[in-house]
């Protein structure tokens, strides 16, 4: 699903966020990326989401080389990927339902179909009863679950999450991870950046540790 070949990302000013990174995530895998802040976790996800482009090397997502995705085609490309953010990135001027429906509206789904899918997505994060509320009235954990519902409402094959539990206490973190786990069980590929190693170890997933933009360590409990 994801292949990185010798990927380098250099920001203006000369510091290397990623240098010569090789990485492969198979379809249906759930992989964690760990490392200190500044190790390149976010940069990796940003390259996959085409928020940035690599300075060197190839990033191939679902058999598409991101280098060949033209600027005009970026929106369509992003619609194939579900994204979850540390700060949720919800729109606070509209209720939960509208937030979750947004990717469908962007994709041109009819209102009627959208309603059904939004409720299905909210049901999966156990927030069906809060669809009419404003995100502001929700707790941090609930807001993150709304963010997750929005990421999965279009049923993407790939979900990327940048520190999704960064602002949550251990119990809520575990709950969020369990939700991710359930998606993984139905075939969604997940790439999650996190620094919560003890939590990751409890889930028993492959873990890639980055340090200063390089692959430092790879832990695969299955091997």
């Amino acid at each position: 699903m994801i292949q990185l070949e010798n990927v380098t990302k250099t920001y203006p000013g000369g510091q290397d966020a990623l240098s010569g990174l090789n990485l492969s995530v198979d379809t249906g895998e759930m992989v964690f990326v760990t490392g200190h802040s500044g190790a390149g976790k976010s940069t990796l996800l940003r390259l996959i989401a085409l928020i940035e482009r690599p300075t060197g090397g190839q990033v191939i997502v679902d058999n598409q080389n991101t280098r060949r995705v033209k600027r005009r085609k970026i929106p369509a490309y992003r619609r194939q990927i579900g994204m979850v953010f540390q700060d949720h990135k919800l729109l606070y001027d509209r209720p939960v339902f509208d937030n979750v429906a947004l990717p469908l509206i962007i994709a041109g789904v009819s209102r009627r179909d959208a309603g059904r899918r939004v409720r299905a997505a909210l049901d999966q994060v156990s927030l069906l009863h809060k669809e009419k509320q404003s995100p502001q009235t929700l707790s941090a954990g609930e807001q993150q679950r709304v963010g997750i519902a929005r990421a999965i409402v279009t049923r993407p094959k790939l979900l990327i999450a940048d520190e999704p539990t960064g602002n949550l206490d251990p119990d809520l973190s575990l709950e969020v991870m369990r939700i991710f786990r359930r998606f993984n069980e139905v075939g969604v590929t997940l790439l999650i950046a996190s620094h919560d190693i003890s939590l990751i170890d409890r889930l028993g997933c492959r873990r890639i540790a980055l340090d200063e933009g390089r692959l430092q360590q790879e832990v695969d409990p299955w091997q």
Partner: protein, 321 residues
């Protein structure tokens, strides 16, 4: 890739018919944008009022010119002409001729001005009384002031003037249309000035709407970033702003129309009074359907142009960070 969810769950994102989707999308965006304007009634009203005044100004001046033209046009039709008779024609002959002409169907009235009356009048008006007193005899001829009837066309008027001018008693027919022509030339200049002024005001409207949309975009920067992050195209994020521009233009145009009609309503009384004083039939010429539609159309066009221009410029710059 293997998915084990039920059939419904793995169905790809499918949109209904492209046209109906397109219409539904626009409709909901249009209503959404309208809702935003309504939620800030004071700010929206201010902008709409500025647009309305800016549109109404050239429209009103144009209407004034149109009215001036129509009033002077009616003078043009019912234009009196003066027939100066030969010196040899006596008062009784002249009076007989006046009676004769008066009987014609294409003549409304004929006023006889004797040479003496004319001289008295001329002395009074010119201030040359003493100089004129030095003259051995009256140099002025008898004059008939002819008012053609309303049924005359401009062509039949010319024929009538020629016919009367060819009478043995008449020396010279004077048609005093020169001032009307000058007046029309002035109106043409005013009309040109309006066109230039209107173009400048149009630029002002574009700037006003553009600036408002720019602020709106800045206020919604985060929302735009988030929607782009989850796959919205530039066209998608631009759409609500285009509709905002459309609504500003539409309501601005409608209010401009209302202002012009209010102005006409206020003038109706005074014009009727003036009309009564002149015992004539001066009616205010209002906007016709085409002009009304043009005001609204220009408003909408400028609104759309301004918002499109602004949104296209700013939207590309806002990218997820």
């Amino acid at each position: 890739m293997a998915m084990t969810r039920n059939a419904d769950a793995v169905a790809p994102v499918r949109s209904s018919g492209p046209l109906s989707t397109w219409i539904t999308r626009h409709l909901s965006t249009a209503i959404g944008s309208l809702g935003r304007l309504v939620r800030q009634p004071f700010a929206s009203l201010m902008i709409i009022l500025v647009i309305a005044v800016t549109l109404a100004m050239p429209a009103a001046i144009n209407l004034i010119v149109k009215n001036a033209r129509s009033v002077s046009g009616s003078w043009d039709n019912a234009l009196d002409f003066s027939v100066f008779l030969k010196q040899a024609v006596s008062v009784s002959e002249a009076e007989a001729l006046a009676r004769l002409i008066r009987q014609r169907a294409d003549i409304d009235s004929v006023k006889f001005v004797s040479a003496n009356d004319a001289l008295v009048e001329f002395k009074r008006q010119s201030g040359f009384a003493e100089a004129l007193d030095q003259l051995p005899d009256n140099p002025l001829p008898h004059t008939l002031v002819v008012r053609p009837s309303a049924g005359n066309t401009s062509a039949s008027l010319i024929l009538l003037q020629e016919e009367i001018g060819n009478l043995p008693e008449s020396d010279y027919v004077q048609v005093d249309t020169e001032w009307v022509q000058r007046f029309h030339a002035i109106l043409d200049i005013v009309r040109q000035a309006i066109a230039i002024g209107a173009a400048l005001l149009g630029v002002a409207i574009v700037v006003i709407i553009g600036n408002t949309i720019r602020l709106d975009i800045e206020n919604r920067r985060e929302e735009i970033e988030v929607t782009k992050l989850i796959g919205a195209t530039n066209a998608f994020v631009r759409r609500p702003f285009l509709w905002t521009g459309f609504w500003y233009g539409l309501f601005g145009g409608l209010m401009a129309l209302a202002l012009v009609y209010y102005g006409l309503f206020m003038l109706e009384g005074p014009v009727a009074k003036l009309s009564g004083l002149y015992q004539s039939n001066i009616a205010v010429v209002s906007l016709d359907l085409k002009e009304g539609a043009a005001i609204i159309g220009i408003g909408v066009f400028l609104g759309l142009f301004a918002s499109w221009f602004t949104a296209a410029r700013h939207m590309r710059r806002i990218e997820p960070r």
